[in-house]
Amino acid sequence: MEFKRKNIISIAELSADEILHILDTASSMKEVTSRNMKKVPTLKGITVVNLFFEPSTRTRSSFEIAEKRLSADILNFTSSQSSVVKGESLSDTAKNLESMGASIIVIRHPMSGAPWVLARETSASIINAGDGRHEHPSQSLLDLFTIRQVKGKIENLNVLIVGDILNSRVARSNINGLLKLGAKVKLVGPGSLVPDYFEQPGVKIFYNLEKALEDVDVIIMLRVQKERKSLEYFPSIREYSRFYGLTGENLKIAKNDVTIMHPGPINRGVEMTSEVADDSRSVILEQVTNGIAVRMAMLYLTASWRSNNL
């Protein structure tokens, strides 16, 4: 199968076959990351720009390692230390980066839709590393990869997403990806953070964590996003964690072999207790490892599209 996309901006636009193709490519990349010499020459001479308009440690370093393992030339660009502070527009920034020879731009932006704008304005390939409350495709792909690795399949699994669904781009991407691959999705959180409009075929909404946990194969915990004002939607963190925090006790309701995931960074004692975070069924650190392989696959497939079509 040939990958027919110049950009990877959302899970919503990908077909199930395209998602599986990315996951299969990521499996081969994972083999590379498990070698002693973890570098291949595939993207030698190709310039990749990491354009980050929002603080990020995990995603940015994961993309950076992925780029380095593929031997790309890297330019890191963060909004706080750049011309953006001097008033440059997003499309002007992009055009300048393109003039410097950037082939692929990895962008993280607080505004939903910013990667689309960029894709329209430049001829570089755009990889969305998270835009506002819209999508976070690389996180979703690494979650799907990890679920497939642990469970051997995604179809017909019961996956529960817990927390601030309203403000979460991880949730939006994951709901799209899980449904496309045939999983059943449950959402749970305070009513103010789980609006009705998320209900659709394959998605069920709950407000009670204990009820939602019944018969669940995978739990994806979302972070309480202080920067996206999660806190304005419920009375207090203490109350939130009492009702929606995962503990050793309520975890017993889920299936015995339930898999616990979290996109990080964890607020220990808020979304889950330390006991749960360090439980043998928690694959939070495996998600981080898999993130590198998945991002290598995204870079490789976009670069191969460029080599075939430009």
Binding site: T25, S27, S28, E31, T42, I46, S304, S307, N308, L310
Partner: protein
């Protein structure tokens, strides 16, 4: 295109057996050899070779497979990229004699990529090359150590290798246009 059979199933078996014996003759202290098949058909040939060596020598020679896609030089040269397949080198290559196995030796670019890939796993003592068919027309200074069949070709011709494991039959054919 017209078709001419170069090797029948029986020929192919004899050629493989001869390669096996040449490998053993060259490496009489064969404690340090390992066979690495280059995906896709080199993997099947490599597996046949290693199984024959193991039967004759009554031991377990290490065997691995290599996908060289990530090492190709055409990502920057507008050529279609095949899908990635899994590489699996389950042994330490340090100080071993690595025998690369492929079906057809042509431009030498695949082998150049394979050598780079093996080197990334460590520093072997030697790297040797076994191929079923050497069709000439090299673009790089690369040569095979063990060759089933050497044949002069022109670049418009094609060599097709069929192997039971993938193609349901064993056969090597030459495809050519009228005249050449």
């Amino acid at each position: 295109m017209k078709e001419k059979t170069l090797l029948s199933s029986k020929d192919l078996e004899r050629k493989t057996t001869r390669i096996v014996h040449e490998i053993l003759e060259d490496n009489n202290d064969n404690n340090d050899i390992a066979i690495v098949g280059i995906k896709t058909r080199g993997e099947y040939l490599g597996r046949r070779i290693v199984e024959e060596i193991n039967t004759i020598e009554k031991k377990e020679i290490p065997f691995g497979t290599l996908d060289i896609t990530l090492y190709r030089d055409d990502l920057r040269n507008n050529l279609a990229l095949p899908e990635l397949k899994e590489t699996n080198i389950p042994f330490n290559v340090e100080n071993k004699t690595i025998i690369l196995v492929d079906d057809v030796l042509f431009t030498g670019r695949t082998i150049r990529a394979a050598i780079d890939a093996v080197m990334d796993f460590g520093r072997p003592a030697n790297i040797k090359l076994a191929v079923l068919v050497d069709r000439g027309l090299r673009e790089l200074p690369i040569q095979a150590d063990y060759i089933g069949l050497s044949i002069e070709t022109v670049s418009s011709q094609k060599i097709k290798v069929f192997l039971k494991e993938k193609d349901k039959k064993d056969k090597v054919v030459l495809l050519y246009n009228n005249g050449i």
